[in-house]
């Protein structure tokens, strides 16, 4: 499923096993810049495992993951030397974790957390780093007066905005989001997704969003894959999959959405 140009990221039969247990099995998918892909399924479906593999946090048991990198050209992430994989994760690929405390340094100020993303990419100018931090915090609608406070002084929803600001600060090509709004109030969630959508369009980012919430998937994504027991059971354009599900499991999922 391509839009006519080179995919930014593609996986070919990527699998991960926890010993005997299937994490995810032979996942093949593609994504191009500007595309918003939702990976949906219930807990245990393997969607988080898939994301961790794409983020390079776990090594696939088999299969390839190809990424079109600005720095290194077309690379297979599974074969890339560790120093380069780390570099990609700091710059071109951004992971937003489900719990903001996993992706932020809780004893460093909010501004510092965002600034770190450019400091680790070679910026050695305080004013510049701070300005960039301000820019992204502002984009995520955070109060600049509070940029020197610790993340613990903010609500979870705000902490999540900080995490997103941080990841965006390195101008990544690919954004990976792991249930970014679970645990947030509905209204907080809606506002956050709104902001995110705007930024994604502006930056022409490729986004892979893992969620169990079909409403979020419908709102945000153009295309979707449905996972069950570690496998992709259905994929296609979001509206098509949700309005006319072919697989029994997808039908089950969609029929359980409460009507608006």
């Amino acid at each position: 499923m391509t839009f006519g140009y080179q995919p930014l990221l593609s996986t070919h039969k990527s699998s991960f096993y926890y010993g005997n247990q299937v994490g995810c099995h032979e996942i093949s998918l593609e994504i191009v810049s500007g595309q918003f892909l939702a990976v949906v399924g219930e807990s245990g479906s393997g969607k988080s495992t898939l994301l961790k593999m794409l983020a390079g946090e776990i090594e696939p048991s088999s299969g390839q993951i190809t990424f079109q990198s600005d720095s290194y050209g077309k690379v297979d992430l599974t074969q890339l030397p560790e120093v380069r994989r780390r570099q990609l994760r700091r710059k071109e690929i951004g992971l937003v974790t489900q719990r903001p405390s996993d992706g932020l340094r809780m004893h460093i100020s909010v501004g510092g957390n965002v600034a770190e993303r450019v400091l680790v990419n070679g910026v050695r100018h305080y004013g510049q780093a701070r300005e960039l931090a301000r820019h992204w915090l502002q984009k995520l609608e955070l109060d600049l007066e509070r940029m020197d406070e610790l993340p613990t002084r903010f609500s979870i929803g705000m902490q999540q905005r900080v995490q997103i600001a941080k990841v965006l600060a390195s101008s990544p090509r690919l954004l990976l989001l792991d249930e970014p709004t679970s645990g947030l109030d509905v209204s907080v969630q809606a506002r956050l997704l709104d902001v995110l959508q705007q930024i994604v369009r502006e930056q022409n980012l490729a986004v892979i969003l893992v969620t169990h919430d079909l409403a979020v998937a419908r709102m945000m994504s153009d295309s979707m894959v449905v996972m069950q027991n570690g496998r992709v059971v259905e994929s296609g354009l979001t509206d098509q999959v949700l309005d006319d599900p072919q697989h029994a499991y997808t039908q089950l999922l969609t029929s359980s959405i409460l009507p608006a």
Partner: protein
């Protein structure tokens, strides 16, 4: 009390050799932490055993040793270490920086400039400059291997954001020989410039952490700073009340119950030298 006899330098010859090999490796890779099989010494870990072992391995019968703590020769810890080393080697002792061939120090560099042929041995509690950010050895090793030092600037960023200046008034990290990030030991920022292009050999020992590292003579050493916030050292309005020095690191002493303060050179030998020039 019966006194036992010990091998010269307390440690056995094989241990001394392995230590010297580690020291040579550290000189070959300036600023890089070299692991070594640190031994238990009769002085507690955390009290200078790393520097002590280095000296046990390096001192010879013709050396002259000076030991200082916080700049002074006569503080109890400096005396205790000096006594031990003297008992184990019989080397000449001195309080004059210029007379020493080897100087063991805790937390200060002498004001008197060092010359070629002298060896400074620093006591280091935490050799890893990135430890505050990353408690795990596995991860910090990778950060050094890949030259991923950006996070160190995060500390500087935080200090500037909160205090308007770098808070690390001591143990301010340095870049050695153009690329290796190092911890200079808890010397005050004031002393950092003395590390740069020193004619002396500078050795750093952390016994408990089992690491040593070195700055060979005439090596570039730069204190970490942002381009728009250059590195600055401390200064005092006061001068030393004893010798009048305006350019040495001053200790602040509280002299009576009303909080009255005196400022005196931290480097006792330097102060004496200045005083004797005046008289």
């Amino acid at each position: 009390m019966r006194e036992r006899s010990y091998n010269f330098g307390y440690l056995d010859e094989a241990t001394k050799r392995s230590l010297r090999r580690a020291i040579l490796k550290s000189v070959a890779i300036p600023g890089h932490q070299i692991p070594f099989g640190s031994r238990e010494m009769p002085i507690a870990f955390g009290w200078g055993t790393g520097a002590l072992q280095i000296n046990c391995a390096l001192l010879g019968p013709t050396d002259t040793l000076k030991v200082i703590d916080q700049g002074a020769d006569d503080t109890v810890n400096a005396i205790s270490l000096k006594k031990f080393l003297h008992r184990m080697t019989g080397v000449r002792l001195t309080e004059q920086t210029s007379q020493a061939s080897v100087i063991q120090t805790r937390h200060r560099i002498p004001e008197t400039p060092l010359r070629a042929g002298q060896i400074m041995v620093y006591q280091v509690p935490i050799p890893e400059p990135l430890r505050f950010l990353e408690p795990r050895e596995i991860e910090t090793r990778k950060l050094h291997a890949y030259g991923e030092y950006g996070a160190m600037y995060l500390k500087l960023y935080e200090d500037l954001a909160h205090h308007g200046e770098s808070k690390s008034s001591y143990d301010h990290p340095v870049t050695v020989n153009g690329y290796r990030l190092s911890a200079p030991s808890p010397i005050p920022k004031f002393d950092n410039p003395k590390l740069h292009h020193s004619p002396a050999l500078q050795l750093f020992g952390a016994g408990r952490e089992q690491r040593c590292y070195a700055i060979p003579p005439y090596t570039n050493v730069e204190s970490l700073s942002f381009q728009d916030h250059p590195f600055r050292v401390q200064s005092w309005e006061q001068s030393c009340e004893q010798c009048g020095s305006n350019n040495s690191f001053l200790d602040e002493l509280i002299v009576d119950d009303s909080g009255k303060r005196r400022f005196v050179c931290s480097d006792t030998d330097y102060c004496h030298q200045q005083l004797s020039k005046l008289l």
